[in-house]
């Protein structure tokens, strides 16, 4: 029984470690915070290994857990655990080049940060984790329709905020992203 649980957890861990570390690093301001979120997410997953769904659903379930851990973290309710210290260096490697510091993205990043937390999370789950509406619905435990409506509104708000800040997009594919500041 214990061996079977362990094997199941190890498989999920192997398959999702890269995804969860990326998820945390994309959302946390410091490598230490990201390390805490990763360690806590997998600690909970192990504690609740009997609830871990099979296959691809496990990934979505973990995103859901990570989301809650992150929210608690922002509220200051997750303190450093010794075990997350092990991850600090690996996480720090991901923080070398912050996209937000690139001149052409600073404006977008500023606007993005003004959005409500739920808006940002939905937009991020689509653009960063590449999740479909259905997958997001599963991860967040809400209906597909709710995701559709909330995502629509989030995009609308982001779009409006960008245009309020006079930021437009001149896109020639991902590698050449150049928002243009419009002069009045």
């Amino acid at each position: 029984m214990q061996d079977e649980r362990l094997a199941r957890f190890e498989t999920v861990y192997r398959e999702t470690y890269g995804l969860i570390t990326a998820y945390a690093a994309r959302r946390c301001h410091s490598p230490q915070d990201a390390a805490d979120v990763v360690a806590e997410t997998f600690t909970i997953a192990w504690r609740r290994v009997d609830e871990l769904p099979p296959g691809q659903a496990a990934t979505l379930w973990l995103y859901g857990v990570a989301r809650k851990v992150l929210a608690n973290h922002h509220r200051g309710q997750v303190r450093r655990q010794a075990r997350s210290v092990e991850l600090d260096d690996e996480m720090a490697d991901l923080y070398g080049d912050s996209p937000e510091s690139r001149a052409e993205l600073t404006g977008i990043a500023q606007v993005f940060r003004t959005l409500p937390d739920d808006d940002r999370e939905l937009l991020s789950m689509v653009a960063w984790e590449g999740l479909t509406r259905e997958e997001i619905a599963t991860a967040l435990g809400v209906s597909r329709n709710a995701v559709r409506i909330r995502l629509y509104r989030a995009r609308k708000r982001f779009s409006r905020a960008l245009s309020d800040a006079d930021i437009r997009l001149i896109s020639e594919g991902r590698s050449r992203l150049l928002p243009a500041e419009r002069s009045l």
Binding site: L6, A22, A25, V38, T43, V49, A82, V126, W128, L162
Partner: protein, 304 residues
């Protein structure tokens, strides 16, 4: 702006590019975290959290069960009672509990009291914490030795330590008391083992390493060294010894079997030394000299 453009813009903000992994599970950090997590008991969340940074994790469930230390442990929300109608402070001869900011802070007045007195104090302020104060080796005083909760969502944190006037302190300084902090409003149940200084002759209930500062073999190098060399150091310090054989079980697991000194050859290898009680240490040995320390994961080997 259409949906694709928005996704492109948001995508460009990602610290880790969309589609790229953050870390690798096969890397040292990923393996160390996995090893540390699965030493916990699932569902009961007995969480062994080491105090010292960079200290590798024991893999052995057997060794962990013997007692582990913790600093701050995140436990489920189901931690403690309903909190309704409870007092915000309470004291008896054993302990004083008081609401300070967002936390209930319990100061242990008598570390040798019956554990029911501690529970009564927590209960009076609406918390269900079963606190046991147990003897530990000098470097683990104030540390959580074990914690058990009934699982659930993340969020709650129990911390322990030694404080005087709100600041960290070390036993046996005067006025330095064992302290447990629990966030107010916690619901559910928890049991906690907290380390206190041992009485003379009392056996320790923590595992830990006896080469840490303040311990009987402080500063000594023992891991990976020949039995006879370690015994020379042990004799030089006038310590008594117990021994255990490390039996490998594959998959980085092992068990421990008692041994007598007469069964051990001078060229056997010592892999760690643990505190047993003041003046007595336990050496963990193998007959063969292995290419790695069997008590630790291969990729988080201790330095010495």
């Amino acid at each position: 702006m259409n949906d694709n453009e928005i996704d492109t813009m948001v995508g460009a903000l990602a610290r880790v590019e969309p589609g790229e992994p953050g870390g690798r599970s096969s890397g040292a950090a990923g393996q160390a975290l996995l090893a540390s997590i699965v030493t916990d008991e699932p569902a009961t969340a007995v969480a062994p959290v080491r105090v010292r940074r960079h200290r590798p994790w024991r893999l052995a469930l057997a060794a962990v069960a013997a007692g582990v230390m913790a600093v701050g442990v995140v436990v489920g929300p189901s931690l403690l009672g309903d909190g309704r109608g409870a007092a915000t402070s309470y004291a008896n001869s054993a302990v004083e509990v008081r609401l300070e900011g967002k936390d209930y802070v319990a100061r242990i007045k008598d570390p040798f009291a019956d554990h029911e007195k501690y529970s009564a104090a927590f209960k009076a302020v609406g918390l269900h914490v079963d606190l046991r104060v147990v003897p530990v080796s000098p470097s683990a005083v104030g540390d959580m030795v074990q914690i058990g909760v009934s699982g659930g969502e993340p969020g709650m944190v129990l911390t322990t330590g030694m404080e005087r006037d709100g600041k960290d302190c070390k036993a046996p300084e005067k006025g330095c008391a064992l302290v447990v902090r629990v966030p107010a409003g916690s619901t559910g149940k928890a049991w906690v083992k907290l380390g206190r200084a041992a009485r003379p002759g009392e056996s320790y209930e923590n595992a830990g390493s006896v080469t840490a500062k303040g311990e009987d073999l402080a500063g000594a190098k023992v891991r990976g060294r020949p039995f006879e060399a370690v015994m020379a150091e042990v004799r030089r310090r006038g310590l008594k010894t117990e021994f255990q054989l490390v039996v490998l079980q594959g998959n980085d697991q092992h068990t421990l079997k008692p041994l007598t000194a007469g069964q051990i050859g001078p060229d056997w290898t010592v892999w760690d030394a643990e505190p047993v009680r003041a003046g007595t240490v336990r050496l963990l040995v193998t007959r063969e000299h292995l290419d790695h320390n069997p008590l630790y994961a291969r990729d988080s080997q201790p330095r010495s």
